[in-house]
Amino acid sequence: MNKPIRTVSIFCLLLFLALAVNATYLQYYHANALDDRTDNGRVATATFSRERGAIMVGGTAIAESVPTKDQYKYQRVYHKPFLYAPITGWYTFGNETGMERAQNSFLSGEDDSLFVNRLVDLVNGSSTKGGNVLLTIDPAAQKAAYDGLRKLGADVQGAVVALQPNTGKILAMVSLPTYDPNKLADHDFKKANAYASKLSKMKSQPLLNRAIQTTLAPGSTFKVVTASAAVGTGRYNANTLMPAGDTYTLPQSHSVVHNDVLSGCSNSKIPLIQALEFSCNTAFAPLAVKVGASAMHQQAEGFGFNQRYLDSDQLPGQAVSQYPAGEDAPGTALSGFGQDSVTATPLQMAMVTAGIANHGVVMKPYLVDSQQSPTSFETLKQFPSTQLSQATSSSTASEITRMMVATVQSGTATPAAIPGIQVAGKTGTAQSGLTNPDGSEVPPYAWFIGFAPAQSPKVAVAVMLQHVDQPTDEIHGGTLGGPIAKAVMEAVLNPHG
């Protein structure tokens, strides 16, 4: 009987071998795939129970994990929640938004760059800690932008973006209305969900980061792009005389374009600099047609239109600003002053003005300055500034700068003037083209873009006001947006007040 017993032992050996191989497969080869499944509650809970890294602005944490006594061990806490909510987003079980999502793997400690830390934690028996993320935000500029928007009333809808022109660093990013991420990160998920659904039902869309997610007609601020395209052809400079007047009839159409500003545009021929100063639609509409649809399109794309430039590890959900290719003549005419099919985010318009400020070079915008080790606080990764495109030549940029400075000195943008500093700016008041359910027209959007100091720019700003609780004829980019842009620029230029 011993021969079959030996055969049986080989059979049993195979059975156990199969078990061992299968266990190895599950716990080693296939383990990562199983861990990465979104329906893996175990990993989700463990990640959620981890000490997540902080999001830092100017040396202080705006989001951090503090120990709690409940089963998840750490509670995400947002300091100055309303001010920074559009940037930080929020972090809750199984969901994260904004920066919490963009830098999730680093904040949670899963990132490969934290491998050594994880190993040390494993050996020490301590639990894994996530790394800190340092933002490019200038807290003074952020606060100035927020306060400026808030001053316009309780139910203002708008956004401000400030960029460092030569690097692309985002110095301020504010969106109103805002929300309290602390309530969304509450471990009482029922309460948090109730708050979330309340927010998502609100008409004013507080969860929207208008700075990067809302595209609206940029109105007259887009004239900077039109002027750049015109000067870029080599046929125009600031003093080139061009047709203007009180009205302009669109090609192939009977539609008539008027000016918002009553003085300064009426002459039949005016220099380009004056057209920009007084924001003459009747000058820029034919100018765009003359420059041509393809040159306009090319110029817009040079500044970043039709592109996604905000990487997903910086902030998710950037909307693409639109300048369609192959516009017909009336469309091109309307696009000359930022109407019709042209739409832009506040970030996009900040990039336009930053590109002019940076001698025609548009830098890729970024929000994460560096990643820091959770234990030694040493910098593990410094995010580099990279060039997105050369939008205009340096000489074109300085010609446009000259005109924008004049616009602040004597044109529509005077509210942004800072004593002792040359400021370049451009206003915009864009027709929404929408009607309310009651048949009345939706009030226009007010825009302001600018940078300072004009000769060695440190900050470029875009202000967008989608809705302000004021009568339609009170809504002007210069009067509403100018002071906000001024405050943000001052905050960057005079850091000590």
Binding site: I5, T7, C12, F16, Q27, D39, R42
Partner: protein, 463 residues
């Protein structure tokens, strides 16, 4: 019986009881250490009852050791320590689930272990010669069938989780299948010892394989029907597989004819197909196995939760595990019983899983070794049957839990919470030790060494 070689005849096994004691102390360290680690992992401190718990475990283990020393001095020295280690580890893991779920099954399991050890000692003391078991061939067969039928009896039988394999007497609940397993091995061994020649010698040769005669197919067909019956009426896929596989192995060993394996495999395939076609319960299990992800999570019937959570847990454990008390094994339904292997995989990692698989492998290896060196047919068959049963059971339950094969309900020997299983397995170990003691014991010196004829006569007489 194969003729032992001359060298084997002169080889005298050492008792090795000291080695056993040393290994038992290691096993005790595993059990008590794991218990302490659970306390540290969950609550940050060593459990308050560590001394009384460890003391009790030590008393049980030392009692078993003394019994072996006294009544089975030549028994295999490795079996008892392995079993003690597995039992201790199982207790610690059950305690760990207790802490998460706020019940106290570990204490109950310790009581069952105590009963198990008492029966272990009792078996060793009362069963001085395993050949006696041959007398109970038909008695134990009858008892096994009665036990298997008991859950079907109205009043005491109870359906738990879809399988009708439990009986309830007052507050006591009992899974008679576990005891029936031991009785069936005894029955098969006794029957096959008597009929092996008839089953082995007659037959036809078809395509290089010796096939048995039609009239000899009776027993295996009967066993096939019994297995199918368990499956059909009790919905117990695991036991059905176990009993059939067990019988097949013993039949093959007794007759030394591979033809029986062909017949058995054919019956297995036919049976599997028929049950798949006609029994919803079996079909359900197969479908669950083939696409478990479709049965997990909100919006599904969630029947795959235990499999998926086990896989997640084992993956989460990785190579070295989360550490005792630091995983989330409470996410696995039945983590203290059928799915205890998943809890071990999560908290002790691949290292722990492989260690447990190796320990089971070693038990089977020691059982089959006892079978090889046993001097009598009934001993060989008993040891092969008990070892083979353990191998099949471990494969079916661990393979099911780790998603290697469709999930069937069986307990993990010595680890799972459950009295009937634990007690039955301790008795199995006692019988194995008894067989190995007889096999390793030096032959009584009744012959002069140079008289080869006398010697073989003696061997025959032993039967």
């Amino acid at each position: 019986m194969a003729q032992p070689s001359g060298a084997l005849m002169h080889f005298v096994h050492r008792r090795r009881r000291g080695a056993e004691l040393f290994l038992l102390i290691l096993a005790l360290l595993v059990g008590v250490g794991a218990y302490a680690a659970v306390g540290l992992g969950v609550k940050g401190k060593v459990p308050a009852d560590i001394v009384s718990y460890g003391g009790w475990l030590a008393v049980l283990i030392i009692t078993a050791h003394i019994a072996v020393r006294m009544v089975a001095p030549y028994a295999d020295p490795v079996l008892l320590p392995i079993v003690a280690a597995l039992n201790g580890l199982g207790l610690a893991v059950i305690h760990r689930i207790d802490l998460a779920r706020d019940h106290n099954l570990a204490r109950q399991q310790l009581i069952w272990m105590t009963i198990g050890v008492v029966l272990f000692v009792g078996t060793l003391v009362l069963l001085r010669d395993h050949r006696v078991l041959q007398r109970f061939t038909y008695t134990s067969g009858l008892a096994a069938i009665v036990l298997l039928l008991l859950p079907m009896a109205p009043g005491i039988g109870k359906t738990v989780n879809g399988a009708r394999i439990w009986i309830h007497l007052g507050s006591m609940s009992f899974q008679p299948g576990e005891v029936a397993k031991v009785l069936l091995v005894v029955t098969f061994a006794g029957y096959l010892v008597l009929h092996r020649d008839a089953l082995a010698l007659a037959g036809r040769r078809v395509a290089m394989i010796d096939l048995p005669r039609g009239r000899d197919l009776g027993p295996i067909l009967a066993m096939w029907v019994v297995s199918l019956g368990i499956l059909v009426f009790q919905h117990d896929l695991g036991s059905s597989l176990l009993f059939f596989g067990l019988f097949l192995i013993m039949l093959y060993v007794a007759t030394e004819r591979a033809g029986w394996l062909v017949v058995g495999a054919t019956l297995f395939v036919v049976g599997s197909y028929l049950t798949y076609l006609f029994i919803a319960h079996v079909r359900e299990r197969f479908q669950l196995f083939s696409d478990v992800w479709a049965h997990y999570g909100p919006g599904t019937d969630d029947l795959g939760r235990q499999s998926v959570e086990t896989m997640f847990g084992m993956a989460w454990g990785g190579l070295i595990g989360r550490g005792l008390g630091q995983g989330a094994p409470w996410r696995i339904p039945f983590a203290e019983s059928d799915f205890i292997f998943g809890a071990i995989g999560e908290e002790l990692g691949l290292t722990g899983s492989i260690a447990v698989i190796l320990l089971y492998g070693l038990i089977v290896e020691r059982a089959l070794r006892a079978a090889l060196i046993s001097r009598d047919d009934i001993g060989k068959l008993l040891a092969t049957g008990l070892g083979g049963a353990l191998a099949i059971q471990v494969f079916v339950v661990v393979g099911g839990v780790t998603h290697l094969i469709p999930l069937t309900g069986l307990t993990t020997p010595f680890l799972s919470y459950g009295g009937s299983s634990l007690v039955a397995n301790w008795v199995i170990v006692a019988i194995l030790l008894r067989i190995s003691d007889a096999a390793r014991r030096p032959l009584p010196d009744l012959s002069t060494p140079d008289d080869a004829d006398m010697e073989s006569t003696q061997v025959v007489k032993l039967q």
